[in-house]
Symmetry: C2
Subunit: 486 residues, 2 copies
Amino acid sequence: MSLLFKSPLTRSARRFTCLTRSISNNRPHFPCVEAHALRESHIRKSGLSSTSSSSDDGPEPPYARPNPKSYHVYHDPSPLSLTYASLLPSFDVAYETWGTLSPRKDNVILLHTGLSASSHAASTPTNPSEGWWEKFIGPGKPLDTNNFFIICTNVIGGCYGSTGPSSIDPTTGKHYGTNFPILSIFDMIRAQFRLLDHLGVKKLYASVGCSMGGMQSLAAGWLHPERVGKVVSISGTARSSPSAVAMRYAQRSVLMADPNWNNGFYYDGLPPHTGMKLARQIATITYRSGPEWDSRFGRQLRQLPSSSTPEESGLPRTPALCPDFLIETYLDHQGEQFCLKYDANSLIYISKAMDLFDMTASTLKTLNLQAHRPSTLSSDDSSSVPPSQVMHKTSHSKSHPPPVNPPPYLPDLAEGMQPLAHIPTLILGVQSDILFTVEQQREMADALRMAGNDGVSYYELGGVWGHDTFLLDVLNVGGAIRGFLS
Amino acid sequence: MSLLFKSPLTRSARRFTCLTRSISNNRPHFPCVEAHALRESHIRKSGLSSTSSSSDDGPEPPYARPNPKSYHVYHDPSPLSLTYASLLPSFDVAYETWGTLSPRKDNVILLHTGLSASSHAASTPTNPSEGWWEKFIGPGKPLDTNNFFIICTNVIGGCYGSTGPSSIDPTTGKHYGTNFPILSIFDMIRAQFRLLDHLGVKKLYASVGCSMGGMQSLAAGWLHPERVGKVVSISGTARSSPSAVAMRYAQRSVLMADPNWNNGFYYDGLPPHTGMKLARQIATITYRSGPEWDSRFGRQLRQLPSSSTPEESGLPRTPALCPDFLIETYLDHQGEQFCLKYDANSLIYISKAMDLFDMTASTLKTLNLQAHRPSTLSSDDSSSVPPSQVMHKTSHSKSHPPPVNPPPYLPDLAEGMQPLAHIPTLILGVQSDILFTVEQQREMADALRMAGNDGVSYYELGGVWGHDTFLLDVLNVGGAIRGFLS
């Protein structure tokens, strides 16, 4: 078995040969299931040669061997207080930058990432590999480095250089694991603003983010309205829906059921790679849309290796229980690519932070947040006009009509979002997005307008790419951002 | 731990107490993860006292202890040839009936089930427990037992009395496991028609089914157009979409990754109950719709047991990584309820049969089907007018306009569905269904009309129940069926 893994050719053959009727001991075998054990054997071998700094010789996945030369790390020795009542005694924030900071430090765009992204949004001299938003950042691009100084961080809770569950807890000298505190989106912002303080950036030109980054972008404006010039939320939400919670819960469930997860304490052993693969397969379903798969894969089957094409017997090809339709091989591939790239606990903690994100006033009031906002923005702030009173004052127009069937919590959301009432905000969403639905884009725009914000730009995109549109549609997503920022 | 399981009270406390910060050995624990081991311990204990007929003393889940007095079993000693080139040497079909067979045997409705249902569609004298379509079957109900004799079977491949992977292979004396042949929806129909032959039923008054049952209903009309009077498809499809394949693939993947699955040979040991629970959680997401969850659960959290309500400290409640939002506890509960009720291999084989279902002519031609259709319906059948020629002859009207954006495979689908051209057909779908989308309902109706069928009744329902509407909306689903059948 382990020999198979050493040869790329044989390995590839293993993946694409799934003849459930190939019988040994009169029993079928399942290469897609065997792949889990093969992967484990591979991790064991590569782990023994890892340059782990741990006292244990246990194997480590790639994210545990970061290249600190490819990004900056801001270490803050002071505690970071958190939304849910505990704190981090100290923390690191990994970050990268593009463009030139102006002498007045007034050209800064803070770019927020989605769930599993690193700070590497675009290539840099120290890390020339392509970033996750390569086509959006650079001279003349939507985030134009001729004008702006762009900062992107790895979020707190992540595993790409910032403090997260895989980090060493300074109070114990061991990996945090699930002793890591539950995080909120607001906590990510607090850590980022400590970095901005360190860099001497008093006010952002704009806070920009996609997906979970859209949540962060709103949270930045909410926590620090005086320090955020503009807010951009692409395919984000102000209130995670039960459907999105359900889909992320399914991912966490399969991950936590992997015996390797070991209640989150796997850093000296094998990571829950099988659970991660299965979780990523589920996630991938939520990232694209049915119409894209219709046109891209349809009901096509994978090509069989020439050695195993069915005989010209007139018999139909026997379907396999392992990946057989192209859509299945696509999900399998996405899971396989991801399962060792990202820390399982980071996925659990950050996806939970997304679930918890809810800007309705009734929820925000229960959180440990008010103490961390400037006192000028307490509840007697002059901008805090009850939403019922501003409902008819807002700038509804032909392209911004009042909502026809507003959700019952809209006034509550408007009240919660009132600190953003004076920040020009771009909301952009995608009609084929099943994770951050277009209804959620509309409710964000409506809530901001109800809160008295007359600077809301709102766009919906069509197309078949679903949630991932923000990674793919440079023309339309990039165009809207360029127009809004200039 | 095992003591916990013996007390229902303590068990309930276990499920609803998920304090991730309750620390033993300074590490959090996770009741939702421990539940898997507790369940396993429970199965081991109950299994040892099972009345297993197996030579092995291994535990058996409830479906392996059927009550043959509560349904009929038709045993057919002759082989059943299958779509994908192999055969079953003999087979059983479990079935139940309601109403009275007319002397001419011309009042029979064959009711087809969804994926995991048994033949117990409604209560009977020998099994008074509520059936899965209880409100639809009975005197004066949509399937009116004053007029009709209704037959419902457990499909071939299932685990409720019909031959499936958990059955004993007569050629080896052992459970089939994954030596069971790959099935198609057409194979299920073939087995059912062998039962009809046995009962002396020459022609069905109607073939009725929901979800996978809708596929079967169409397949019955396709294989035996001369023996099917009317076809009803509720929330079915004529061609599984890549999205639906993706969602079922995700379920099979988590199931097959459960070490207990053991390549499908677990019948003498422990069933893959954890994989089944995780798979059912994913399935449940596809059965309902976001809008229902918005109104039913919103973002509500579970109630904490009174012993563990947070102190009045002013601190926010600490979120748990185990089920905490009501939507999470709902998915957890659905998975827990299902995981020992149904055979894992049946789920794998039947969900695969659903994925494979595709009535486009180009696919049907590759299958081992034509030999099993009456020779009068070969390709030179007079009803086989090319769809391109009938496109403009069909009964499009104001409520049945021609499709605006037909999928590119529509003519292919119309050609494939041509054997149904002369069978009055009811297509009913639900706009909030994410598994069998409304677009698929429209394409079925359009394809039938293109094939020359001028007896297509077509309805779409609104509402928030998604795919499960067929189980819940007696008024509208039942009303459409009643009107169509009378």
